[in-house]
Symmetry: C2
Subunit: 203 residues, 2 copies
């Protein structure tokens, strides 16, 4: 591509470094920004620079945070007795959006995956140990991916921490709300039969 301007070329090059955005899309976005008031591009550039320089990770749960300790860890309204183990900060956001969980989180930062060369020592497992040593936690929920790696990670954590006086649980797997049995995959359907629940009117 021939660019009429070095400034435009540089912007297109940087924008196309983002995942899923090619040169043509990057050019389209750059031209869009040029059609808007400069304040929009300045605000966007500033927000991105602030994002990568100012964001912190909560020292307790490894979630993103603006302070050293995040809002959830700091909140007196959250239940300290339930600790939900998730792989990623996106999972915290997803669970928070359900408004069904009032405990605290711990972000592992990934899952054990020999294929990708990720072992237990690269995950925030020592923070779980620290939490358990504090003695507040009574239940550990594994909210991990329903994949081989997720299951391996849950099993590893269970083996490591089973001596602690806590109960272990895992988020339910089964048929998603709105799904028809006919189209469900057999593994999910099989698990949902094995892990069947007592019927009650509200379920």
């Amino acid at each position: 591509m021939n660019f009429p301007s070095k400034v435009l070329e540089k912007a297109v090059e940087e924008i196309s470094g983002l995942p899923g955005i090619g040169k043509k899309s990057a050019l389209r976005l750059a031209l869009h920004l040029l059609r808007q008031p400069p304040s929009q591009g300045l605000a966007l550039g500033n927000a991105i620079q602030k994002l990568v320089t100012e964001i912190k990770y909560c020292k307790k749960c490894h979630n993103f945070s603006d302070e050293d300790i995040c809002e959830i860890c700091n909140s007196p309204k959250r239940n300290d007795e339930i600790l939900c183990i998730v792989e990623d900060v996106r999972d915290v956001m997803a669970i928070e959006n359900t408004s069904k969980f009032n405990g605290k989180y711990l972000v592992l930062g990934g899952k054990i995956s020999p294929m990708e060369g990720i072992g237990p020592h690269q995950l925030n497992i020592s923070s779980i140990e620290k939490k358990l040593n504090e003695g507040m936690v009574k239940e550990l929920i594994f909210a991990l991916s329903a994949t081989m790696e997720g299951d391996t990670t849950a099993y590893y954590l269970y083996k490591k921490f089973k001596e602690f006086p806590v109960t272990f649980s895992s988020i339910a797997r089964g048929i998603a709300v709105g799904d028809e049995l006919e189209y469900a995959d057999e593994i999910s359907l099989g698990r949902s039969i094995i892990n069947r629940l007592p019927y009650n009117e509200k379920s």
Copy 2:
């Protein structure tokens, strides 16, 4: 969406202001930037800010430029006798990428479109007049969209400038290279028959 950090929320908000990028994609991009070294986000933010503050428009042809007069207008190697009228800077880039044109350009900045409230006075038509008054131009090429608005714009410009001693031409419309007749739309096919060309071995 609940964000664990204001900085993240602001970045997602700004990124999702770009066309075709929703909140979920914006979050994905923001999290991607956080997984990279901060230098990448800083460079991206800087390139965007430079783009919207430093880019100039060529005073002669209205193409993007880093200087007051763009490289094409300044080049002694380009033919001053042929002026190619295009709607947009992207069209200049598209034609430059073909390497088949050695004249100069004039970017209209749009096309006459009563539907979108764009009239001749919003386009860079006075710059064409200035060019024609200088007396160098011998041919005016309309390289406009093959749409009603493109045709209207070409007709308007022809009517306005037909007294000048220049020839007018329009880029060829017809069957695209690689297309099969069977699947071509009837208007393009019809035009390609009316505007048929003398056959020669090289065509």
